[in-house]
């Protein structure tokens, strides 16, 4: 009958190394499967992916400390390769120019409205843009950080966003982070959330604006981010009222009261995904009635006599906008470049001379520019074509609110032919 073996493991560790090898392999496979699943579910997008090598949780924690206290260190250029491939954790370690470039590339930048897009009344939302600093708000690992469009740190604070404050009982997984597209409105010290990019670890990049706005409105209130500030929630967040861009919606956005200072109108295509960089599927438009800053001012806040623009100097001396592909406004000759000590990548400020901009068949043909000098070093990129154009037409023949109403008028179709703007100087 059952021979009873008394022997117990003697002077031996309880786990064999072979079993450990098996277990660690299984663990790695499990994590890889989870990653694959996450990718499939777009929980991690290409821009904000967590596909980097699995690290032990403790390492992850320490790497995920968002050390974002960067002051401008324009000279401390650390070349860390192309700026687009970092994920949030890696990006958080960037300094100086790299950081600015990286963050600059994460925002969806509306083009300026120089033509009325078709189907404005059916396919678009409109809302009044709060005046203030456009920024990314990232909550993760128990803290919240806001960064301006050029990557400079605005605030670091506790917030009620998921993982936005160090409060007990809250899971502080590195995966659970939020990224909000906001405008910080100084007068009431409020972050107006104009778009949601990631929520509690879920990427919303691949979601339509319609869905993002829906999700934004339900989630933000749910976590208490819109509550009055408290110890663990230093700044208030608020949503902005978004309307369908029909007669009534446009009217309300244009003249309706809002708790913030307006700075133009933003138009978002309902079906568009969150696309980083310049996009024609989000548009900004302004006039004197809804914005204090229609015409660009200089650093002293004065409207200069001549329109100014900032262009990027390329290798071959050409002067380009920030668009992708960029639009070339002209070029500098080599002598001039050498004499002034400029080099590729410099952002240069120009004034538009009396010759102005000339067009042939809707395409820019000639620009009469005058070199003013290098731009403010806090700038991360050149002007976009649509911005230059908007500023130009504002000074010459503005696109008026009547045109917008007309395009969605009772006739409805809004069939004002949209010029496909293909540029070549």
């Amino acid at each position: 009958m059952a021979p009873h073996d008394l022997r117990r493991p003697f002077k031996r560790p309880a786990i064999s190394d072979q079993q450990r090898r098996r277990d660690l392999s299984l663990l790695r496979q499990k994590e890889n499967r989870l990653d694959a699943q996450r990718r499939a579910r777009c929980l991690a997008s290409s821009v904000l992916s967590f596909q980097s090598e699995p690290k032990s949780p403790s390492q992850e924690q320490s790497h995920f400390e968002l050390e974002l206290e960067l002051e401008i260190e324009p000279d401390a250029e650390q070349h860390q390769g192309p700026a687009t491939t970092y994920d949030v954790r890696q990006a958080s370690k960037l300094r100086g120019t790299d950081a600015r470039r990286w963050f600059a590339k994460q925002l969806m930048l509306p083009e300026w409205m120089i033509d009325v897009p078709p189907n404005l009344n059916t396919d678009w939302y409109v809302f009044a843009r709060p005046a203030g600093k456009r920024c990314f708000v990232v909550s993760s690992n128990g803290t919240t950080v806001s960064r301006l469009r050029n990557g400079i740190l605005l605030h670091r604070f506790p917030s009620a966003l998921p993982n936005g404050a160090r409060i007990n009982n809250v899971s502080r997984s590195g995966q659970s982070y939020c990224i909000l597209d906001c405008i910080f409105h100084e007068p009431d010290q409020t972050y107006y959330v104009i778009d949601m990019v990631c929520w509690a670890g879920f990427s919303l990049y691949e979601c339509t604006a319609e869905f993002r706005f829906f999700w934004l409105n339900s989630k933000l209130v749910e976590v208490g981010a819109c509550d009055t500030p408290s110890t663990f929630h230093k700044y208030r967040f608020a949503t902005v009222p978004v309307y369908n861009c029909d007669q009534e919606g446009l009217q309300t956005a244009y003249i309706g009261p809002v708790p913030y200072v307006k700075d133009g109108l933003l138009f978002y295509n309902k079906h568009a995904h969150y696309q980083t960089g310049n996009t024609p599927l989000a548009l900004v438009w302004k006039d004197e009635n809804c914005s204090e800053y229609v015409i660009d001012t200089d650093s002293k806040g004065q409207v200069p006599n001549q329109q100014q623009l900032v262009l990027e100097l390329q290798d071959d001396g050409r002067l380009a906008t920030s668009d992708d592909p960029s639009v070339i406004f002209g070029w500098l000759n080599e002598d001039f470049i050498q004499k002034t000590g400029l080099h590729a990548g410099n952002l240069l400020r120009f004034a538009v001379n009396d010759g102005g901009l000339s067009f042939v068949d809707g395409k820019l043909e000639k620009a009469d520019l005058q070199y003013l000098g290098q731009s403010n070093r806090a700038r991360a990129f050149a002007d976009s074509y649509s911005k230059v154009m908007f500023q130009y037409i504002v000074r010459h023949s503005p696109l008026k609110i009547e045109h917008l109403f007309a395009s969605i008028g009772p006739l409805g179709d809004g069939d004002i032919a949209s010029h496909d703007v293909e540029m070549a100087a």
């Binding site: 009958m1 009873h4 499939a40």
Partner: protein
């Protein structure tokens, strides 16, 4: 005929192999021609008092083997075959068996009792042979002692073979009464008493009702305790075996007897013969096991109402128990460290002391310290070794607060002893104790570090020196180093080990090359430690880890060049290859996890893969498994470029997937297929027909160990995610299989914990398959192919939710599948989803879960569902 059988059975045991083979062949033919007659004549042979004992014994053995087998599927076949036999034949066979119990020939009745138990194991669950127990019990009252003995043995075997739920309580009562009476001191025949005591051991599992009755329990306990004092050593030993079993099965009933039990065991440990004394120590080890389990459960969740409360028997017995165990430590055997099979009083006592320390924690320290202090410097090696062993044994359990100051003092002493003690036995235990110190009191979770910049160098130096000592000492030194480096596992980017890294690796490699590295498991320990050194290394030493690759590859290459080995030599060669493949796997996984190191590592990928393919040709299961694991790590590190190895590797994948017997190989291969899918993505497509065919075969096989089936389902998901809509052609095979497995695993009513755990593994596999399939088809025009499966999948989710017994892992995967279904099918499934329970109650439950991963998946599912139903 009958005469003939006798002769054939005798011939089958002949020393002449020709005669033997011929006889075996005749028996096989006989069995195939007419099973009924064959079994009948065997039972007649067994019962025949005029037959030679050897033919009777073999007849019984063949009968027994015709009723049971180790392999599950074979066993099932045999059971079905017996049940299908003619009732009359079976009645005759059983009559012969019962009749044989009365035989005075020991071998005959002893064999018969085993066969009877096998028949009972088949028939009792079918409600057949109801008269069996009655007729056995009537034998008990027969006069001849040998009949009584045979009957008690039969009852014992029967209790071992048959599940308690097929015997009703009335019969259990009668069996127990007969057995306990047989054990009683009034029983004059020692053979009967021994048979009864052994029978009780097996009957204990049937006795729950009786142990709940105070009077019956008192009686059983009294008889068992009395039997521990019987003059016959075998009976004393068997009685202690019963006590050990009672201590774990009926822990909660022990309180009234614990004082007596202590007295009995203390006497046995101090005075009785070793086999009895060992059982007496084992009893306390078993009580420790129980209390450790209970206390762990307490610790895990204070609100959980545990079935069994802790009675703190160990804590109460401590003042007497510890001195008793310390005494045993001085009873070492001279060369016990060199004998793998050794198990003696000192070993058992020390092991028990370790368990006691884990049970009571801090309380043990003051009871053991005086013993250590008194003996550790004595000239007699036994005293020094016992003191060291006592110290090593109590390092797990007490709090670091209690131990740190003591260990800080002891550490230096230990390092000196490891270098200077003249006795190898002492050094062995000292090195082991150092390992225990590092295992339990060193690492990121320990507040006051034992190892400091001041002593790290000395510790490493002493350990590396000891690696040149006798193999058993060197092995323990490797073990200590293993835990030393493990303590720096999550140290961050700078490790205190870095300055010694090169020297450590060099020393370990040197150990693996020692002539005597085959002794005391030394080579294995050295490679295992090397593995841990690699695992715990930081980026600082990545280049040195990289330098190991060609060294290990060369060693592996050498094993492949060796020719014409003896079978013993081949076995050693296989073992070495397994170690080297394991080491390469660890290195690959380490370097593959960091981008720059991975890049540098890839220069070796071709050569490594080439070696692994050659290793596969050696066909040893362990090596196959290790090489396969390593290949998974290479695939992960290589990514899409791994495609170039596939044409050659494929056949070994197939071989692995076909390896039912060594199911670990099969399991590992299934995991590696997943790695390859993730590495290759759609480039894996050309191999999928073969792989899917194999996986489907595996699933349908009843030979394959069930633990491999859940990962196979997960692997479906990996494949589907990799090849996307190309999975279309497998849907018609995979989906029905998933569906029927899902139905089976939906309900667990009445299953035990182990079954529920397995069911949850199965559910997780099934759900991961669904997840991969849905995500694979996302954005494909063929999405509509999945729509017909949606209702069943939603129903599956609903039913596991209703069942309320899924674990967190299943919950996370299940709610993810709901999201995947919504995400991929979109508005097509909108109304179906809205009708399901899962999208409401289940989803809400997950949304409010404390588990981060569940919540995350639930948020995702909610988003996908909202999107699906809003369109």
């Amino acid at each position: 005929m009958a005469m003939e059988v006798t002769q054939v059975l005798l011939n089958a045991q002949s020393v002449d192999s020709t005669v033997r083979k011929h006889a075996e062949e005749s028996l096989r033919q006989f069995q195939e021609q007419n099973l009924s007659v064959f079994l009948l004549s065997l039972s007649g042979e067994l019962a025949g008092e005029d037959k030679p004992v050897d033919s009777r014994k073999l007849a019984g053995l063949i009968l027994k083997n015709a009723l049971d087998a180790k392999e599950q599927h074979r066993k099932y076949e045999l059971v079905q075959r017996w049940l299908a036999l003619d009732m009359g034949v079976k009645t005759q066979i059983k009559a012969c068996l019962l009749q044989t119990l009365s035989s005075p020939v020991h071998d005959a009745h002893s064999t018969a009792s085993q066969v009877i138990a096998k028949v009972a194991a088949i028939e009792l669950p079918q409600k057949q042979w109801p008269e069996l127990i009655g007729s056995l019990l009537s034998n008990i009252h027969q006069v001849p002692a040998h009949v009584k003995q045979a009957t008690l043995e039969t009852l014992g075997y029967l209790c071992e073979e048959v599940s308690p739920d097929v015997v009703d309580q009335d019969q259990v009562n009668k069996i127990l009464t007969a057995v306990v009476q047989g054990m009683n001191a009034n029983e004059v025949n020692n053979d009967v008493r021994l048979a009864a005591t052994r029978a009780l051991y097996n009957a204990l599992g049937f006795s729950h009702a009786n142990f709940s009755n105070d009077m019956e329990r008192d009686y059983i306990m009294r008889v068992v305790c009395e039997a521990t004092l019987c003059p016959d050593v075998k009976i004393r030993q068997a009685a202690f075996e019963c006590l050990v079993s009672i201590a774990s099965t009926y822990y909660e009933k022990l309180a009234p007897y614990i004082q007596d039990i202590f007295n009995i065991t203390a006497k046995a440990v101090r005075e009785d013969e070793e086999p009895v004394a060992l059982q007496a120590i084992e009893l306390w080890s078993s009580i420790c096991d129980e209390e450790i389990d209970i206390l762990e459960e307490y610790g895990g969740d204070f609100t959980a109402d545990s079935d069994v409360p802790c009675y703190y028997f160990i804590k109460q017995a401590l003042p007497a128990l510890v001195p008793m165990l310390l005494e045993t430590l001085l009873k070492q055997e001279e060369d016990q460290d060199l004998d793998e099979g050794a198990w003696n009083l000192a070993m058992a006592g020390g092991t028990c002391l370790g368990l006691v320390a884990r049970t009571v924690g801090d309380d043990i320290v003051p009871l053991v310290m005086p013993f250590i202090e008194e003996n550790i410097t004595k000239p007699d090696w036994r005293q020094r070794e016992a003191a060291t062993y006592a110290f090593g044994s109590i390092l797990e359990g007490p709090s670091p607060d209690k131990l740190t100051s003591i260990v800080n003092v002891a550490l230096n002493f230990m390092l000196t002893a490891l270098t200077n003690d003249p006795n190898s036995h002492v050094k062995d235990t000292t090195a082991w104790t150092l390992g225990r110190i590092f295992e339990f009191l060193h690492g990121s979770t320990v507040e006051t570090p034992i190892i400091t910049p001041a002593n790290c160098q000395q510790i490493v130096t002493v350990l590396l020196q000891s690696m040149n000592d006798a193999p058993n000492v060197a092995e323990k030194a490797c073990g200590a180093l293993y835990f030393l480096v493990q303590g720096y596992e999550d140290i961050g980017s700078t490790s205190p080990i870095t300055p010694f890294f090169q020297e450590i690796v060099k020393s370990l490699l040197h150990v693996t090359d020692r002539e005597d590295a085959g002794e005391s498991r030394l080579r294995t320990a050295a490679y295992e430690t090397l593995n841990e050194v690699v695992r715990c290394s930081t980026d600082e030493t990545a280049s040195m880890v990289l330098q190991l690759v060609p060294i290990i590859m060369t060693k592996l290459h050498q094993t492949l060049e060796a020719e014409k080995l003896s079978s013993d030599g081949r076995e050693k060669q296989n073992e070495l290859q397994g170690l080297l493949c394991g080491c390469l796997q660890v290195i690959t996984q380490k370097l593959g996890a960091s981008e720059p190191a991975k890049y540098a590592f890839m220069q070796f990928a071709d050569q490594i893969m080439n070696l692994f393919l050659r290793v596969f040709a050696c066909r040893s299961a362990t090596v196959h498994e290790e090489a396969m694991l390593a290949i998974g790590a290479v695939a992960h590190a290589t990514g899409p470029d791994f495609a170039k190895y596939m044409p050659e590797l494929y056949k070994y994948l197939e071989m692995g997937l076909q390896n039912f017997e060594e199911y670990q190989v099969c399991a590992v291969t299934v995991g590696v297929v997943g790695d390859i899918c993730r590495a290759l993505d759609d480039k894996v497509l050309p191999y999928c027909d073969g792989i899917m065919t194999q996986l489907l075969k595996d699933l349908s096989s009843n030979q394959l160990h069930r633990s491999v089936k859940p990962p196979i389902f997960s692997c479906f998901g990996d494949i589907a995610l990799a090849i996307g809509e190309n999975f279309e052609k497998y849907l018609m095979y995979a989906m029905p299989m998933l569906q029927s497995a899902a139905e089976l695993s939906a309900h667990t009513s009445g299953a035990d914990d182990e079954m529920i755990e397995y069911t949850n593994l199965l559910r997780n596999g099934i759900l991961e398959a669904y997840s991969g399939i849905f995500q694979g088809f996302k954005n494909s025009p063929k999405t509509q192919l999945l729509i017909p499966y949606a209702p069943h999948i939603l129903q599956f989710l609903d039913s596991i939710y209703m069942e309320k017994d899924m674990d967190d892992v299943v919950m996370k995967t299940a709610i993810g599948v709901l999201g995947d279904l919504a995400d991929t099918l979109g508005s097509n499934a909108g109304s179906l989803i809205q009708q399901s329970l899962s999208c409401k109650d289940f989803l809400n439950e997950c949304l409010s879960s404390d588990d981060h991963l569940i919540k995350e998946s639930a948020e995702w599912a909610k988003m996908a569902i909202t999107r699906a139903i809003s369109v």
